[in-house]
Symmetry: C2
Subunit: 331 residues, 2 copies
Amino acid sequence: MSVTIKDVAREAGVSVATVSRVLNGSSNVSEASAKLVNETIQRLGYSPNFLGRNLRKRETNVILVLMPTSEHSLYMKIVAGMQNFSQKLGYDIISASTNATTDNETRQLNMLFNRTVDGAVFLGTSFDAETLNRLSANYNIALCCEGVTGADVLTVTVDDEQAGYDSAKAMIAKGHKRIAFIGANSTALSAIRRENGFRRALDEAGIPLPDEYIYKSTYDQENGAIAMERFMSLSERPTAVCAVSDILAMTAIRRALELGFKVGSDISVMGFDNISLCELMTPSVSTIEQPCAAMGELVIKKLIENITSSEKDTRCYTVPHKLILRESTGD
Amino acid sequence: MSVTIKDVAREAGVSVATVSRVLNGSSNVSEASAKLVNETIQRLGYSPNFLGRNLRKRETNVILVLMPTSEHSLYMKIVAGMQNFSQKLGYDIISASTNATTDNETRQLNMLFNRTVDGAVFLGTSFDAETLNRLSANYNIALCCEGVTGADVLTVTVDDEQAGYDSAKAMIAKGHKRIAFIGANSTALSAIRRENGFRRALDEAGIPLPDEYIYKSTYDQENGAIAMERFMSLSERPTAVCAVSDILAMTAIRRALELGFKVGSDISVMGFDNISLCELMTPSVSTIEQPCAAMGELVIKKLIENITSSEKDTRCYTVPHKLILRESTGD
DNA sequence: GTGAAAGCGCTAACAC
DNA sequence: GTGTTAGCGCTTTCAC
């Protein structure tokens, strides 16, 4: 049914080795046979079976990307960046969503164990440092976007502490003196670091931070609304809010509007990520941009280096973020 | 380096055949050796190499999903539905974005040609009917969400004509007499059908449809704003607008707000798809829901049937849509 | 119930 | 330049 290298060899009157050579661009083949073979390939509609090839070469040139959810445009942008870049290096990217469950994550990782892919990058993971270290010792893996404390694994993120600092600093620069924070009390390292940066900025500016100005829960979108409601019911309301994600900022904004406040004047709101919706919303959302394409490219570059080299780079790389001011902070 | 079935066999003191048998749950193996083999597998941390297995079995149990863009939550929801479902049938889903270019699409399809996957489903495609028919003759493919005229290929969509009809009908039921339409003059069959349904509803109700009430361009988000601007500058402004996508509806809404109109009273707007943002936006967006999970499940079910059977089902299946009214139409 | 051996489609020595 | 051949890791007859 399916045409194989053998068929091509027979039809072209050469050996399978010769066909393989033209397939792989080997120089040791005469122009004449190359032409003949290529014509035969065309004529038979032959396409090499990569199961055979990959089995023999013990590599697949495919990298798996695992993410907690595929319904977050941030991840999609990162994956797109990876795809564009890896293509040039002859690698394919395939991706899967784990729904943030360890079960799914473990199951998806089988592709790594069963040698269907050469490496994996986690856009957030539910594995602990120990598990990751064990994985990293035996396979080529990397973390992107979200690091894990104590994990001695190749990692690419923004400088979350500095980004949190910059976010707060932007509000301070606008003259705000009462600034609240919507965080996440998950174990997410990025959220913790952003909060640390936020606190440092207020600290440096001598701005007090009452406990009621900090709302920490999960990344679930409704928490933005809950936080805002809580803030705006305080006797001394904040005039600005920094959130650890755009989605949280957006639902916070929506609730503020519903409560009758003018966003951008009564209350300013900063997001984080710069997902495409930031521009679409009314008001548009100020935020810290994560450079998705750059992060994706760097992590893929480093991971492929690990795959193709004998030594393993397990360092943590940082890419530059960017402050973007829009209507939600009165710009 | 990597532990193979041979290692397990040697360590357990049995033949590779026996190991293979316990791996595949064959009944013809004594309880004793099964136990022994399983222990050895555990001890050595063995994981079967699927390249070898798939090569031998000539199947991968993997299905490829190709989509124009991964930054559309509609597609992500469909893929999620597919994933949850296919898992039960022992299949994995991998997905890739084509950025709507034939080049990318062709390149991605190599996974089908090189036998890395058993089948492919297109969430929209740039291939013409002839190409698809040729593909379908030699491989297991399916279309989901977006059909192609003349393509004799397994297809699953909503009844777009009826959905367009229902969208307009909902506006008519609310008493609107001047209803405009934001469409797409792309070759997208769904957009054409939705427009046909829209026209039928107005026709049946005896409502005139001046040319200026139809704005057709591409699915690019800015076109919603352009359309709305055009509509609202007419001497006789429409009081309702139906769009072929939520994104177009949302940018239309945003522009209407910017122009000082009250959305839901001055102008009602209907979207299409029911992406999660519909609820998040202010005002929330009325729409026609596409049943993502149901579409994903059905197409995967049918495709797997094709893969595992000798005859090929190339019919077109339809799944039920749902009208959802929210604030943007004054509800 | 178990093992020996063939072979899935391919690449890469090795010989010529 | 080219062909022969071994073997990647696995499943599956076929004997026993």
